[in-house]
Structures are given as C-alpha cells and as structure tokens.
C-alpha cells in the first residue's frame, strides 16, 4: 500500500513539475500537444513502471496460467464490462449494438459460466468496446490537448473524464461486498495483465520500428480513438489531409 502511494505521489509530482516547465513550442501547439515535454517525461516514467513491474508480472502470469485459462480470464473481464458498454451504446443511440451487448451479457453470464466462455460469439453475436469518452465524442465534445497519464498512458481530457464516469456507472461497483477494495484492485490488476499480455508484441513492434516512439504512439492513439468513435464506419473523406 505504501508502495502504491509512493508511485501515485511520484506520478503526480512528475505531472505538476512538468506543468510548470517551459512554454510549449509552436510544433507542439500545432500538434495540439501543448504539454509535450511533460508527456514525454510521463511516457518515460510509465515505461519504467512497465519494464520493472508490469512486464515481470505478465511473465509470471503467462508462466502460471495456460492459454485456455488466460482466455477465460479475458472473457470474464470482458463480460464484466458489458453493462457499462451497454449503457454507452444506448447513450450514443446505438440500439442494435446495445442489444448485442445485452444479449452477450445474458448469454455469456449464463451459458458461458459467469463469462469465462464466450458462446455468444459462436452464436454470431460479436463483441465490441464502448466507453464514456466515446459517448462524449458522439455528443460533440472536443478531445482537448493530448495527454499521457501516469500509469494509464495516452489520453486527453475528454477520455480521462470518461474513465471516471465509466467507473461511476459500472454496476459492479454497486454490489455490496465486504472486500470491495480487494475485488476492485484484483479486477484492475488482471485487466492490466490481460491487456498488456495481449498487446505485448504490438507494442514491442511499435517501439522497435519507430523513429520517434512518442510521436508514433500519439498518432496511433488519436487515429484508433477516432476509428472507435465512428464504430468502424468510414471516416469523412474530407477530413483526410491533402497530399
């Protein structure tokens, strides 16, 4: 617990210290990234956490839990997030996708044994992600400047606020549990292991093949988020830059 406090304190100190640093360059302003120097420092900090804490934990997880077990954990965590996805589907007016989320939750929670299996996919009901950051984007909220959050990575004020709202509307947080803190901590811990394990090769590929990892990550995050907000629909072609 003391270590967690120290990490959070370190991250916040880093953020505050960097906010007080030199004014943004014209290039950073043009890229809608006025806190670029802070963000770069936070990326280095996150990289150290990743290298010394997350990757070793993922390695142990992969060593102890076989592929089938990890898939079960992945399915279980995905199933837990379905109520939040369902609410965001409806808030975005996506009735068909909302009904898919509801059906997936009902089927996987019952036939899929609390979500450890994914029979809904075999029935032709595909899964998808959704969050309140995307909902606000659909409602017309601007993303704001690019941010790298300590521990959490690439974001922006809209998506960061979305994370808080998602936690607030997550029905599993309303289940009265005596050990709620441990339940939440365990869930977050396994979410990190699952996510990092799934993206290990992709991130390594980006790191190895980038001229500027920070710039690459920023571009990929923004493009990916925009694609998610459109729910896979084609972008407005006029928004693409001239060649």
């Amino acid at each position: 617990m003391r270590a967690v406090k120290a990490l959070i304190f370190g991250g916040c100190s880093l953020l505050l210290a960097a906010c007080a640093s030199a004014p943004p360059s014209p290039e950073a302003l043009a890229a809608n990234d006025p806190y670029e120097q802070t963000n770069r420092q936070t990326l280095v900090f996150n990289g150290k956490i990743d290298h010394y804490v997350v990757i070793p934990s993922v390695a142990i997880y992969f060593f102890l839990v076989r592929d089938g077990g990890r898939r079960g954990v992945h399915n279980f965590l995905g199933n837990l997030s379905l109520p939040t996805i369902f609410v965001n589907d409806l808030l975005q007016g996506e009735v068909t996708r909302g009904s898919q989320s509801a059906a997936r939750f009902l089927i996987n929670s019952s036939l899929g044994l609390a979500g450890f299996f994914d029979p809904a996919r075999k029935m032709g009901i595909p899964g998808h992600g959704e969050d309140f950051g995307q909902t606000m984007a659909v409602w017309g909220a601007d993303e704001g400047p690019y941010l790298i959050l300590p521990f959490l990575g690439p974001s922006n004020p809209r998506d960061a606020a979305g994370l808080v709202i998602d936690a607030a509307i997550d029905p599993t947080n309303f289940i009265p549990l005596k050990q709620h803190l441990w339940w939440s901590a365990g869930r977050e811990y396994f979410t990190v292991l699952d996510l990092r394990g799934q993206n290990y090769q992709t991130i390594q590929g980006i790191q190895r093949s980038s001229v500027d990892y920070y710039g690459s990550l920023r571009s990929l995050y923004r493009q990916l988020r925009n694609s998610e907000i459109r729910n896979g629909r084609p972008a407005a072609v006029q928004d693409l830059p001239d060649f």
Partner: protein
C-alpha cells in the same frame, strides 16, 4: 437418327446460351467494379499479395519483385514529401533528395512487412468514395479463408490518385489507421525534438530499413 441430330442441335444451342449467360454475367460483374480506382485496387493489390505468398521464390527474389511492384504502384515522391510536413519547406534540395531515397528504401521494407502479415488472405473491394475529382478512398476487406472466429474481416482502405496519367496509391489504412499520416506525425515529432535535423532522420530511416530487412 433424325431425333439424335435434333437433340445434338438443341444441346449445342443450350450450351451456347449458357455460355453467353455466363459471359454477360462476368462482364456485368466487371462493370460493377465501377470506378477506375476500384478496378485498379482490385486488379493490382492481389498481385502484391501473390508475390508475398509465392513460396517458390527465394527471399531475395520475392523482396526484389515486391519492391518493383510497389514502386510501380505508388507515388513515393508524393508520400515522402507529405511525411516531412512543414519541414519540407525549409529543407535544402540535397537533403530532400537524400530523404526521398531513404524514405523509399524504408517504405518498401515497411510495406513488405505489413503485407507479409496477410499472406494467404484474399482482398475484396467493397466500395469507394471520391474525396476530390482525382482522389479516391477505396475500401476493401481482407478475407482469411482459415479464420472461423466469427470476427469481422479486417478493413483495409487505399487512397488512390488518378491525376498522374495512371492511378497510384498514396496511402493505405488498416482498421482505420492511415500509415502515411502516422509516419508524418512521427517524423515531424522527431524533427521538432531534433532541431529539424533531416540528416539525423535519414540516418534513422536507413537503420530501420536495415532492421526490417533482417527481420
């Protein structure tokens, strides 16, 4: 005897009619590949995938064939200029020429690495949109015949220009991420951090191209 002859004539006529029906259906299907940009993508991209899938070729031959195929299909100079963003204006002609060469070398290695991931898959053009009179976005899906996961096929879009005498590809996107756009963001970010030092960028590109080639 007479009835046998009549049967033969009927059969021959039926076959002729069937042949005509199939031929016109094929022509109609071809006509449905509507715009020149769609036809260009449909006709050419699978050629690239075929080269990468051809295990009868040695690695070097496959690499050389793919490189010449890619260079005939893309407008590398235009892409290179785009990826330099605002730094192109202040660069010397010598730096620009050196960057163009380094970028071409790097891009061939990167594109080869991207498309090699989709070996064994087929490409289907789904539609296209005109951004301007000579700038098109052609949407395709990569179909993996061995994928039974129920996941939607991967969406790959190609940006095609038709103002250079023949159609050329200027960018492509995988699952909504445009590669040249990502390269521009990366290169300009690097140059912003390194006092617009294009020579340093060229050095990095050459190193990365080498790294891609060595797997």
């Amino acid at each position: 005897m007479g009835s046998k002859m009549t049967m033969k004539v009927i059969l021959r006529q039926a076959l002729l009619v069937l042949g005509l029906v199939f031929a016109s259906a094929a022509i109609a299907a071809r006509a449905q590949a509507a715009t020149p940009a769609e036809a260009f993508v449909q006709d050419n991209i699978h050629v690239g995938l075929d080269i990468l899938n051809n295990k009868a070729l040695s690695t070097d031959t496959r690499r050389t064939q793919f490189a010449s195929f890619l260079l005939s299909l893309t407008d590398m100079k235009r892409i290179a200029d785009f990826t330099l963003g605002q730094y192109r204006r202040g660069a010397s002609p010598a730096d620009l020429a050196a960057f163009d060469a380094a970028f071409q070398n790097y891009a061939v290695a990167v594109y080869q690495s991207y498309f090699a991931k989709y070996a064994g898959q087929t490409l289907k053009v789904t539609n296209s949109q005109a951004r301007t009179a000579d700038d098109f976005i052609v949407a395709t899906q990569l179909i993996d015949p061995n994928d039974h996961s129920g996941q939607a096929p991967l969406e790959v879009d190609f940006r095609v220009r038709t103002d250079a005498g023949k159609p050329v590809v200027t960018d492509f996107s995988v699952a909504g991420i445009w590669l040249a756009l990502e390269e521009r963001d990366q290169f300009t970010s690097f140059l912003g951090q390194n006092s617009a030092n294009i020579k340093a960028l060229i050095g990095h590109l050459n190193d990365l191209a080498k790294q891609y080639r060595n797997g």
